[in-house]
Structures are given as C-alpha cells and as structure tokens.
C-alpha cells in the first residue's frame, strides 16, 4: 500500500538520481519495498550500480537481490540479453535454486517461447506442487497468450486452495471487469473488502462496478461505498466525490415518479459538490467552469 508520503519520497528520489545526485540504492530499495513497476528507471539505476565494481562490492550480500530486481526490470524493458546475463550470474552463484529457476522460466516467457516456459514451470511444480508464485505465473502466462478463459480457470483453481491471496483476487476482479462480467467482479471485490476493509481503493472499485451494473439497489449500495471511500481518505479522493454526485443523479432519474425519501439525500450531494468545487478551484482553475456547468446539469436531472 503506497501512502502519499511514500509516493512523494519515491518521486523525489527518482528526480534526484536522474539529475545526478546520489541515492540510487535507496531508490531501488524503496521501489522494491513498495512493489512499484518502474522498470526503465530501475534498469538504468541498477545498471549504473552493477557496472561499477566498487559500488557493487559495497552492497555485500544484497548484490544478488539487486541482480534479481534488475533482471526482472530488464525483461520488462525487453533488454533480454541483459536479463540473460544476470540470470546466468545468479545461476552460477546459486545453482539449483528454485528462485533462479523461476527467473529463468520468466525469461523464457519474456522471449515468447510459451511452450518451453510452461515445461519449466511444470518441472518446478513437480518439485513443490504448492508453490504459489509458479501457479500465479502460469495464470499470467495464459493471460499473456490471450487465453483469458484458461487464465480465469487457473486463477479460480488457485483461489480454491489459497483463498487468502489478495493479489490473485485483485487480478481476477480486473480480468472479469475487462470481460464485462461485472457480477463476478463484484464478488471478487467483496472478498477484497472483507479481508482488508481499511483500504479505500477497494471500496472505490467496488462502488464503480456496482454503479456500472446499474439498477436502483446497486446504485444505492454504490453511493454508500463512495461515501465510505470519502470517509477513509478524508475527502481527498476526487473520484469518490464525483461518484456520489453521479449516483444521486442516477437514483433521482430512476425514482422520478415516487417521492418518498427525496430530501434526506440531497445534503450528501450538495456537500460533495461543494467539496469538488473547492478542490478544482485550488488545483485546476481552468476547468472550474466546466465543473460548475456539469454539476448544474446533474442537479437538474
């Protein structure tokens, strides 16, 4: 979970190293800790450290973790010969290691030789049939080849065994959303919210999916989840504020005939509209007029 201060710290370090100041190793450690995917920077800074034998020996035993990190970044940037070099170095240092075996199979994946990568993963699974990362890589490979039904099936099988794996639930939810199977995606997000209820981004995604599904009940639940997102982020999440306005407008449109409970919800909408206007006035003055026009049209409908 990347907090605001951590994000600012990473960006600051990145610009610092870009402009020639030191701190590449701290940047790489921070990226590894926060699990960010900034492969081009990691590759550049990692190579600058590893090509300098003085800096390399200063790292001590952490050098091998850096090799692994930069190898994966190289695969992401399609510099496959660099990745192959590093994998060979790691293989020499740790022969017969499962972690290096996984790295080699990932290299085969990056090259595009899917059958060989599949064979490598199956052989790794024979040694340890409950290896979580290998199962997940196989699902990722199915997705990369475009075989989405197979990816869904393997993810479902994986989740039957390892039900507590947050990453897998997130991945499954995203795949379902990409296929427009919103009911299943809502189920996955519900699992995520159950396990980690204090992360506002899960609430936000769940509310988005419910809003997309439509229907009066879903819209009302979506409004509640947008409200909980606003609660958890202290009102700083613009998307949730917009979500409240849109949900109220959509609910108003659906319940145009009935006038049971119309006045109690307008306070929430007006408050979020005020918060949005304040935010836009502060951050983006030019779009403020566009915002007021949009909000006015929403209030009318």
């Amino acid at each position: 979970m990347v907090s605001k201060t951590e994000e600012e710290q990473v960006n600051r370090l990145e610009s610092q190293v870009e402009n020639g100041g030191g701190g590449a190793w701290e940047y790489l450690c921070l990226v590894r800790k926060l699990k960010l995917r900034r492969s081009d920077k990691v590759l550049k800074f990692g190579l600058s450290i590893l090509n300098d034998p003085k800096k390399r020996s200063a790292l001590g035993p952490e050098e091998w973790t850096l090799y692994e990190e930069v190898a994966v970044a190289a695969m992401d940037c399609q510099c496959l010969d660099v990745a192959k070099e590093f994998t060979k170095v790691l293989q020499k240092k740790f022969p017969g290691s499962k972690r290096v075996g996984r790295l080699e199979a990932m290299l085969l994946e990056a090259k595009g030789s899917w059958a060989e990568a599949e064979k490598a993963y199956m052989s790794l699974l024979e040694d340890n049939p409950l290896d979580q990362i290998v199962h997940k890589r196989r699902a990722a490979m199915a997705k990369a080849q475009g075989n989405i039904p197979l990816a869904i099936e393997s993810l479902n099988k994986y989740l039957e065994i390892f039900m507590a794996d947050q990453d897998a639930w997130r991945e499954l939810a995203e795949i379902y959303v990409s296929l427009q199977m919103y009911k299943q995606a809502a189920f996955c997000y519900e699992e995520l919210i159950l396990s980690q209820p204090t992360i506002p981004l899960f609430h936000l995604s769940y509310a988005d999916v419910l809003y997309t599904l439509g229907g009066l009940e879903n819209l009302q639940t979506a409004k509640k989840y947008y409200a909980s997102t606003i609660d958890l982020t202290g009102g700083k999440n613009t998307r949730a504020l917009f979500g409240i306005c849109l949900c109220t407008a959509a609910i108003g449109q659906l319940t145009k005939g009935r006038n049971k409970e119309d006045k109690e919800n307008s306070q929430l909408q007006s408050l979020s509209a005020v918060a949005l206007e304040k935010d836009y006035k502060q951050r983006n003055q030019s779009k403020h007029s566009l915002l007021t026009a949009t909000l006015k049209s929403l209030k009318l409908s």
């Binding site: 605001k4 992401d76 890589r137």
Partner: protein
C-alpha cells in the same frame, strides 16, 4: 534517549522515596495514636515532582509517535502495489526502443 532514561529513573526513585516517607509517617502516627488523614505536604510536592519527571520521560524515551488518522498523508493509500506476481511481458513497451545503452560490463 540517554537523558530521558536518566530522568525516568530519577522520577521512579523520587516516587519510591515519597512512598517510603509516607510509610514512615504512618508508623510515626501509629506511635502517637493519631489518625492518618493524608501524607504531609512535602511528600505531596515530592509526588507531583516525581509524576512530572516520569511523564516527561515516558513521552520522550520511546521516540517518534506514529500517526493514527487514516487520511493523514502518511497513512492515506494513494496507490495499491502493482501486481508483480502477475506481470506479463508482451505489452506495448516491446515496440518502443529503450534508448539507453543497456549493457553489463
């Protein structure tokens, strides 16, 4: 940390000295058969001083306090970690040349 620790030990010593004085005062009162209404005024002053020292030490010694508000900048989640376990490599970045001279010496 050293100063806070010493101050904390000093505060505890003062408190135990005050307790000992109160016990002795009670023993004295038992001899003169008077009622024990409360500790003498200097023991009360000593107690308050010991309390202040211990409180100050308790707040300084543990170090920096962490924020508990969920929407303060340190705790507010702005991005989830990328799903690195499911990272795939045949994305559009393949078509873009890297531009840097990536070589291992």
């Amino acid at each position: 940390m050293g100063v806070g620790f010493v101050v904390g030990v000093l505060g505890v010593l003062i408190l135990s000295h005050a307790a000992y004085s109160t016990i002795q005062y009670r023993a004295l009162l038992k001899i003169t058969e008077e009622e024990f209404s409360g500790p003498p005024i200097n023991v009360v002053v000593e107690l308050i001083a010991g309390l202040m020292l211990c409180m100050w030490a308790a707040l300084t010694v543990p170090g920096k306090f962490l924020s508990i508000l969920p929407h303060s900048d340190e705790n507010r989640v702005v991005a989830l970690p990328e799903n690195l376990d499911f990272m795939i490599f045949n994305h559009r970045g393949k078509a873009i040349p890297m531009g840097i001279d990536a070589k291992l010496k």
